[in-house]
């Protein structure tokens, strides 16, 4: 199975092509082809997983050479896949959650005339994402990286007949390109200092490279990760990306693609090991984003945007963990997996609520939905408990470990990072409970034309499966540190360090803050009446509601000066270069006009010219004495 792993990329890619080219005749069966393609990737991935379980720990890295990609003299680049515990974890997560979301989409997109195109894009995404995680070099990873960016763009703008949605897609694409510059720079630095871009060469070359090079490479990689994972300062696209259909938000903008940045950081561990400064910046960006996302999530009334802010915040946790070094890598990926389950589940739940509420997304128009949508309520509730970090649900096992790891270190660093992680847990509890209570509890604030009803089985079954995962996966993987041991061949064995506070105290504080957050949310949004119009409470709330004016900042700092710069350049182009070129061009007709007169058409005048010329030549020869 390990050698057949290329199938997980090829099958969805082919299926995507078929769906795209088959046209309307595929309307009847296209979506099931998409589901089957996605499911087949899980089957192959699971087979590879079973085979790898049978191997000893140090053998669990299997390289599959595909072909010689760029044979260029000194520069030899091969296309190859690397199957190890880290990439297999992603393969399983992407294909499993992806397949469930494919099934969900069959019902969710039922009335859309372009459903087969939707499935084509979803398949394209699955293929690109699996290429991203299976690639054995940064260059091949970059192909997948761009592929998921393309799929994300196509899917955010799936309903691009609405200009706002098309703009959101474009925004996501442009912001991601800024991150891509980082990845390209990093690859350039790697080629220059290590002589190659495959993971093995980079890992070997790190010991001989200077700290400055490694720091620069690490920061470039971080820029790439920030773009893809919506981390500060490239976070602005994720909220708008909710314009896409909800299954897309669940799959791409919650469970898988946005976590590619974390994967990149963990995969680049050798680089970051040699660059503690870059590592610290990763942790700082993670801590900042986790607080920022949580604050934004507290103020949003749009259920999907609140979940998007939550995704940002949770990926902040993963980044923080990835920035902590070997003690954090396994927890970052662990949280990534559990988050993939509970956040995808909650997004699907949000989709189910929208499905039953005429595509309403304003939580101030929800309320008391638990009676009308019992399955959604229960599955969403399990996801809610998981993200809160309530034991024994998934999030507890992964997030608590990250908070503990953040408290490890010397000086003020553990207090700042750990404090941010701890406060973030409390904020998470508040905004997720706010979302949960505003949607499912309290009084009904529906508009007159809304008649909430439970979604069909095709939608609820994936939600139930994800909810089961949200509830028990963390416990299952955390028992005996199973997950950490599984990842050990890649992330390395982490020495145990004691946090600056005793573990029981950290855990108690976390749970106390979580309880406080839930209680506060219940008091404000569960027990009390929620106004249907958002009140203007404080400046801070307004700022958070507007994503801390991120768009205005971007506009002021980048867009305006950029516009002026391009205008100046256009003006200079017209005034200097165009003028010179046009002036030169105008000279030629004038010259031609002058020369034209010599062409009289008279044979004898031509003959006279020739004779005169001849005489001149003879005179030069005779007088010049040549």
């Amino acid at each position: 199975m390990l050698d057949l792993i290329w199938l997980v990329i090829a099958v969805p890619l082919v299926s995507s092509g078929i769906l795209l080219l088959a046209g309307r005749r595929a309307n009847a069966w296209g979506h099931w082809l998409g589901v089957a393609a996605s499911a087949s990737t899980f089957v192959v991935g699971f087979g590879a997983f079973l085979q790898m379980l049978g191997m000893a720990g140090e053998e669990r890295s299997h390289a599959v050479h595909l072909y010689s990609w760029i044979p260029g003299g000194d520069l030899q680049l091969d296309a190859g896949l690397l199957v190890d515990p880290l990439s297999l974890t992603f393969v399983l997560l992407v294909s499993f959650v992806g397949t469930l979301i494919h099934v969900y989409s069959v019902a969710y997109m039922e009335h859309d005339p372009n459903r087969r195109i939707f499935f084509s894009y979803l398949n394209l995404f699955v293929a690109a994402m699996l290429l991203l995680v299976l690639a054995d070099s940064y260059l091949l990873l970059f192909v997948g990286w761009e592929g998921v960016g393309l799929a994300s763009y196509l899917l955010i703008g799936f309903w691009n007949h609405k200009p706002a949605y098309a703009t959101a897609a474009k925004k996501a694409f442009v912001v991601n390109r800024i991150g891509d510059i980082g990845l390209i720079l990093a690859m350039g630095l790697m080629l220059a200092s290590f002589g190659g871009v495959d993971f093995a060469t980079v890992a070997d070359g790190v010991s001989g490279a200077s700290t400055a090079t490694l720091t620069a490479t690490g920061l470039a990689l971080l820029l790439a990760a920030c773009g893809k994972s919506a981390q500060f300062p490239l976070q602005s696209w994720l909220g708008d990306a909710m314009a896409g259909p909800t299954p897309v938000s669940a799959l791409i903008h919650a469970a898988t693609m946005v976590t590619a940045g974390v994967y990149l950081i963990v995969r680049s561990a050798p680089v970051f090991e040699g660059a503690p400064d870059a590592q610290l910046v990763v942790a700082a960006v993670g801590a900042l984003t986790l607080i920022m996302g949580a604050l934004i999530g507290m103020a949003k009334d749009d259920i999907k945007k609140a979940l998007a802010a939550s995704t940002m915040s949770q990926i902040g946790y993963m980044m923080l963990a990835a920035g902590l070094g070997p003690i954090g890598y396994a927890f970052a990926i662990f949280h990534l997996v559990t988050h993939g389950f509970f956040k995808a589940g909650m997004f699907l739940g949000a989709g189910s609520v929208m499905h039953g509420m005429n595509d309403q997304v304003d939580m101030r128009r929800f309320g008391a939905l638990r009676a009308a949508m019992v399955t959604t309520w229960v599955t969403f509730g399990l996801g809610w408990l998981a993200i809160l970090g309530v034991p024994p649900f998934s999030g507890f096992w992964s997030k608590d470990k990250i908070i503990e790891a953040a408290f490890v270190g010397e000086g003020v660093q553990p207090w700042i990072l750990g404090g941010a992680a701890l406060v973030g847990a409390g904020l998470t509890a508040f905004y997720m409970s706010r979302l949960f209570f505003m949607t499912f509890h309290g009084k009904a604030r529906w508009t007159d034309d809304q008649h909430p009803h439970e979604s069909p089985a095709l939608m609820t079954v994936p939600m139930i499966i994800l909810a089961v995962g949200s509830a028990f996966l963390g416990l299952f993987l955390a028992v005996g540190d199973r997950f950490a041991h599984w990842l050990e061949p890649v992330t390395g064995h982490a020495e145990h360090h004691d946090p600056v506070m005793p573990i029981w105290l950290i855990m108690t504080l976390t749970l106390a803050l979580v309880a406080l957050g839930v209680w506060e949310a219940w008091r404000r949004y569960g027990a009390a009446d929620v106004p249907t119009e958002a009140p203007d409470v404080s400046l801070a709330t307004v700022a958070a509601r507007n994503d801390f004016f991120q768009d205005s900042v971007n506009r002021g700092v980048f867009e305006r000066p950029g516009t002026h710069l391009t205008r100046t350049l256009v003006y200079a182009d017209a005034a200097v270069i165009d003028r010179a070129v046009n002036g030169g061009a105008q000279g030629w007709p004038k010259t031609g006009e002058a020369v034209r007169r010599a062409q009289s058409g008279q044979v004898r005048s031509y003959a006279a010219t020739m004779v005169v010329g001849l005489v001149i030549v003879v005179l030069i020869v005779v007088l010049g004495g040549l």
Binding site: Q599, G601, Q602, V603, R604, V611
Partner: protein, 99 residues
Amino acid sequence: MDPINFVILACVLFAIGAAAVLVRRNAIIAFMGVELMLNAANLALVAFSRIHGQVDGQVMAFFVMVVAAAEVVVGLAIIIAVFRARQTISLDEPAELKG
């Protein structure tokens, strides 16, 4: 006799031929001028051949004669074609190539 005289004669013939081409409007006469120039050149070639005691110039003169014969054929054909088209062989009449 000094062979340089032949060169001088060739120059004179060439000048007469060139003058005929330049001043006469009649295409036939101008054509005769061209022939005269060609033969002046031939004469010069032969004279130089004599001066240098080599046969190269004479050989070249033969080639010029052959080419001149072919040129006469083409030239006369053009003149006849022009006459058929315009009922005149004046050189100043056709000026289609005026720029």
